[in-house]
């Protein structure tokens, strides 16, 4: 077995007696005390996550904007320094290579934060297209930095984060917390308010301890997954990948077909005009059984799809999931069945933002 990569907080996780496991090739804390407890902490108060497994890449240069506009599905040229956007990087055929956050730090300086998988392929992709932009420097800072997510409705009450409480959603700044120079953005992946903080790998443990002392509860990737699933956010490598396009994945809002000429645009224009055959929907189990990734989705004794993400949703109190179904069966309220232990079990297509009404949802956030 290939040895798992370790984040700068690995020893601390062991010290905190976390149950550790493999996540995209990283040894990560799955939970410290309990997934449900950690999940609830983030919905009601404040949790802290090690998200250092996510890749961090700086893109610098006079033509950095033009370069990124070639690669990303939403133009960065319109971003003000200090703001950010969620967008996609697609292949020529419109397949999704990743979903990522791009932060504009300065006029000619950007930071990309992307998922843990496929790092080499994505870096190669960037390097490949950078040949046309010889002044652009691509710098993978993943190993020299670490990244924390502090998430939950009470996050701006933390003493340590008072200095960044003024940040609006998706905006960011560079400042100091404790003794550490930090990059702080008001972003996250839980459906709650929160900050993501990047700092030098050397200083990240002190920062974590400081935030913990302030009252943020350590949370593992178990809660990270249940929180994002309840918020209806697709996970790369599970719900979306190069074989899926943004429109069927319900991520059309991350694609801007009006401006520029990014990679994949021509294919996406055709896909959008033709309409999609299948759609990624959210569903809720109507009994206590739990749908898991890979389970079959049925309708009238016919297989119509496969569960791409599934699990127990602590805030909702039942099983929920995501999966692709034919576009004609994607309406909210459609009765479907999930095959669990060889038995079809009743489920219903639901608003993919399962907590809508209870929490504010991502795309509508300013």
């Amino acid at each position: 077995m290939k040895e798992l990569k370790k984040t700068a907080l690995n020893q601390l996780h062991h010290e905190l007696k976390a149950k550790m496991g493999d996540f995209a090739g990283w040894e990560m804390p799955i939970w410290y005390v309990s997934i449900i407890e950690e999940h609830n902490k983030v919905r009601s108060s404040i949790g802290i996550f090690d998200v250092s497994d996510m890749g961090r890449v700086e893109v610098i240069g006079k033509h950095a904007s033009a370069f990124l506009d070639k690669l990303l599905t939403k133009p960065v040229a319109k971003l003000e320094p200090g703001s950010s956007q969620l967008c996609l990087m697609c292949l020529e055929d419109g397949g999704i290579l990743d979903d990522l956050f791009v932060y504009r730090i300065g006029n000619e300086r950007y930071l990309i934060v992307w998922n843990a998988d496929n790092t080499k392929r994505k870096l190669d992709w960037l390097q490949h297209w950078a040949i046309e932009y010889p002044d652009v420097i691509i710098k993978d800072v993943s190993n020299t930095t670490g990244m924390l997510a502090v998430q939950g409705p009470k996050v701006s009450e933390l003493d340590t984060l008072k200095c960044v409480a003024h940040l609006s959603r998706f905006s960011h700044t560079e400042t100091e917390i404790g003794n550490a120079k930090v990059f702080v953005a008001r972003t996250g992946y839980t459906g709650e308010d929160g900050f993501e903080i990047i700092t030098d790998a050397v200083g990240i443990e002190d920062l974590w301890r400081l935030l913990m002392q302030n009252g943020a509860a350590p949370c593992g990737i178990g809660a990270r997954d249940s929180l994002r699933l309840e918020a209806g956010m697709a996970l790369y490598g599970q719900d979306i990948d190069t074989s899926t396009n943004p429109y069927e994945a319900g991520l059309g809002y991350l694609v801007n077909l009006n401006d520029g000429n990014f990679i994949g645009k021509q294919a996406l224009l055709i896909i959008k005009n033709n309409g999609v055959q299948r759609k990624l929907v959210g569903f809720r189990m109507l009994s206590r059984e739990i749908a898991r990734r890979g389970y079959k989705i049925m309708k009238d004794d016919r297989k119509i799809g496969t569960v791409t993400s599934g699990g127990y949703a602590p805030t909702i109190g039942s099983g929920i999931g995501l999966g692709y179904v034919p576009a004609g069966l994607a309406d909210i309220g459609t009765d479907i069945e999930i095959v669990i232990r060889n038995c079809p079990v009743k489920a219903r297509v639901d608003n993919r933002r399962f907590l809508l009404g209870e929490i504010e949802n991502e795309p509508k956030r300013k």
Partner: protein, 129 residues
């Protein structure tokens, strides 16, 4: 650390003979801790005949699904409705309120082949290394 009066399987189930041929079965503290928050139990119906080591159900935590094997042969006398309704009881009290089923043993001598608490303690220590 694990109750003396129980016998244990390598699959981390326990069995305790209460009186005569009547026994209770459940999963061990090690098993519940490895699974994390248990949220669903798929169990056989009362009256089902089961064999030792037969897969008789599944236990689902937030994160994982795991098989439940019968520690002995016999007939299911009762399924603990309390854990069916509140699966987290298995986490909170795996040897007490979190018992899973009552089994009427058809071959009580089978139990002798299972691990004693001392042996199971050692196994758990070994697994924790």
């Amino acid at each position: 650390m694990n109750p003396k009066e129980n016998r244990y399987t390598t699959e981390h189930e326990w069995i305790r003979v209460d009186s005569g041929n009547t026994s209770k079965i459940g999963i061990t503290d090690y098993a519940q801790s490895a699974l994390g928050d248990i949220v669903y139990l798929d169990l056989p119906e009362q009256g089902t005949e089961v064999r030792q080591s037969q897969k008789i159900g599944e236990i689902e935590s937030v994160k994982a699904v795991t098989d439940l094997y019968s520690p002995a042969s016999g007939r299911i006398l009762e399924v603990n409705q309390a854990v069916v309704n509140e699966p987290n009881l298995v986490n909170e009290d795996p040897y007490g309120k979190g018992w899973i089923m009552m089994l009427e043993l058809s071959n009580p001598t089978e139990i002798n082949a299972l691990m004693s608490s001392d042996d199971y303690d050692k196994l758990v220590i070994e697994l924790g290394k």
